[in-house]
């Protein structure tokens, strides 16, 4: 496995990108686990490489672009809501990758949950943290924690408030617990202040947090929440 932490493009007037100069025990452990697993026949190097390359190529931009396109094109929006797998091709995602029949944890049944002014969706997988990786990339750490998974289904408003999202009491919060093969992204309501925007501009404000449903898109807001590294156990209260 290549030891590239970063690489120098060699154009001459750019200093080389910083690199981590030491091998951590974790890096050595990962290599050791992988090599021993291959030697013991748990998987082949080729199969592992295929999934690693998949992991290297996924990210949240395609899902963001899907929403932006849907906001601009009512016909595409209809396709997103009736056949999201087919709609994924328009943003460069083929859910059959990398095996020809999808991955063992993402499957091939994407559903788009359309927000309205009267209804806001938020997604969780209480069982384990299933997530639409082919179109959204990897789950954020907080999405994987039992803390989020246990609490969102029962106290969604408290959890959303911790993300800085307050939803009026009469608006329906609809929690989607994705416990089987379907995978979900949220299509938020297009915010005010984006009239005349291009697809690129709209894509930029549909963050990963918006696509999960823990944030709403806003002009100027292009980043996701950064939660503290040390997870405090929050007392549960109504």
């Amino acid at each position: 496995m290549s030891n590239d932490h970063d690489h120098d493009h060699g154009h001459g007037h750019r200093p080389p990108a910083p690199m981590v100069e030491e091998i951590s025990d974790f890096e050595a452990l990962e290599i050791a686990v992988r090599e021993l697993s291959i030697e013991k026949g748990l998987f082949t190097a080729e199969d592992h490489r295929r999934f690693t390359e998949f992991a290297e190529h996924i990210g949240p931009t395609p899902a963001a672009r899907m929403v932006a396109k849907a906001w601009l094109d009512p016909e595409y929006k209809k396709l997103c809501l009736t056949d999201a797998i087919k709609a994924s091709f328009a943003v460069g995602v083929d859910w059959l990758n990398p095996t020809g029949f999808g991955t063992p944890s993402d499957y091939t049944d994407l559903r788009v949950l359309e927000d309205t002014p009267a209804r806001h969706h938020v997604v969780v997988c209480t069982l384990c943290s299933c997530y639409p990786r082919p179109i959204l990339g990897f789950q954020p750490e907080w999405y994987r924690t039992p803390n989020y998974r246990r609490r969102l289904v029962r106290w969604p408003r408290q959890v959303l408030a911790e993300f800085g999202l307050q939803v009026p009491p009469e608006v329906e919060i609809r929690v989607e617990d994705s416990n089987q093969k379907c995978r979900f992204i949220v299509m938020p309501v297009r915010p005010a202040g984006t009239e005349g925007w291009t697809e690129d501009q709209l894509t930029e404000i549909v963050t990963r947090d918006c696509l999960i449903g823990v944030a709403l898109p806003k002009p100027g807001k292009t980043s996701n929440i950064k939660l503290p590294v040390h997870r405090a156990v929050n007392p549960v209260h109504h």
Binding site: D6, M19, E30, V33, L36, S37, F43, S105
Partner: protein
Amino acid sequence: MSESANLNAPVGGSEWTPVPLLEEIKGHGRVWGDLASQYGVENPDPPWKTSLEGMCDVLAEGQCALPPLERRWEEDEMSESIYKDVPFPERQLLALAHSLIKRGLVSEADLASRMKQVHDRLAAA
């Protein structure tokens, strides 16, 4: 005290006995957050994260030795006990190694000796 939603994991009996090699790594290994800030690298993830995810996926295929739901439940339990203070994704890596050792799929001794070889190999490069 209100009950939280049951996560459906099998209850009772999962006591996580520390694995000495993994405890050693946990105690002395440098996590990516520290390495990245020391060397000024901006990537939020260590370079081995995608390979780790690749392993988790490839182990989930077919009638595999380490079914994904079991692996995730074990990771949840270890994340709340023996690996509670380890950041992510180091925690996911330790949990994977632990699950493999627990099932006898790889041995602690083999891992220890392979890690030494890896260190030697990469230091020489």
